[in-house]
Symmetry: C2
């Protein structure tokens, strides 16, 4: 191997040795992912109250902020919070089913559907159209439910 | 009072009778605000690892997503999660000090400082400048700490 080859190999090794994310303990992963979902749930509740049920006066700025929050969670890289040893058969205080790792295609699909609809929610909220927001709220809600039905214990 | 006056008064009453946000129980307020802070803490941790400590390879897209998440929380209207009956002398599972309502000027100030620095974090992360991000991480962290020092029990 010539000098350049050696150098490249060393750089590559260094690059791969560097973890893609700070290594969180299983407990911290579980705490962070539950927090992320709870925080989204609060924001979904605001959209439901103002755009769907109408019990609360529609405020386009608040809807935009709520949708931004949901999209920001969806785009935050939550995959890092799901390690194979963080399922409910191996860890405490979690309802993540082992199926999440046994059906990786399905897990990827529900995750991608959620990400797509959450980002669309942000766009729709920016438009200020209440009826469209109510419809997109349902579309997002269905992606939450799809994941829970497959991968969250009751 | 003429007809216009009567109408305006009725509209005003209707506007004020409609709550600004769906009324959450104290328990739900506490759950949502703790979740919001935990979620921010996870995202601050990513910025610390990549931009400050450097133990994790710098990834500008991940830094942008983390800063967006923190700003989205800051802009989400968390004030709605702090009712006077949700302090630790009156409610369970919370560390919110009653001082939060006894020093409203101070509470508003720490909250506004945090909001300003979190939004600046989002701008700085978008620039991709790692050193600037490390500095702004510290600026945000100081505003977290300022609030905790005054209003969160140990």
């Amino acid at each position: 191997m010539n000098k350049t080859g050696l150098l490249s190999a060393a750089l590559l090794t260094a690059a791969f040795a560097m973890p893609a994310a700070a290594q969180l303990s299983v407990e911290d992963q579980i705490e962070a992912r539950k927090a992320a979902y709870q925080f989204m749930s609060w924001n979904m509740g605001k959209i439901k109250a103002q755009a769907v049920d109408g019990g609360v006066e529609f405020n386009a700025d608040q809807m935009k902020a709520a949708a931004n929050a949901i999209a920001a969670v969806a785009n935050s890289g939550m995959g890092a919070l799901f390690s194979p040893d963080s399922t409910m058969d191996k860890a405490d205080d979690t309802r993540l089913k082992p199926e999440f790792f046994q059906q990786p295609e399905k897990a990827r699909e529900v995750g991608m559907n959620f990400g797509r609809e959450a980002n669309k929610l942000q766009e729709v909220a920016a438009s200020g159209d209440r009826a469209a927001l109510a419809r997109q709220f349902s579309a997002v809600g269905e992606t939450c439910k799809a994941c829970h039905d497959s991968f969250r214990a009751d």
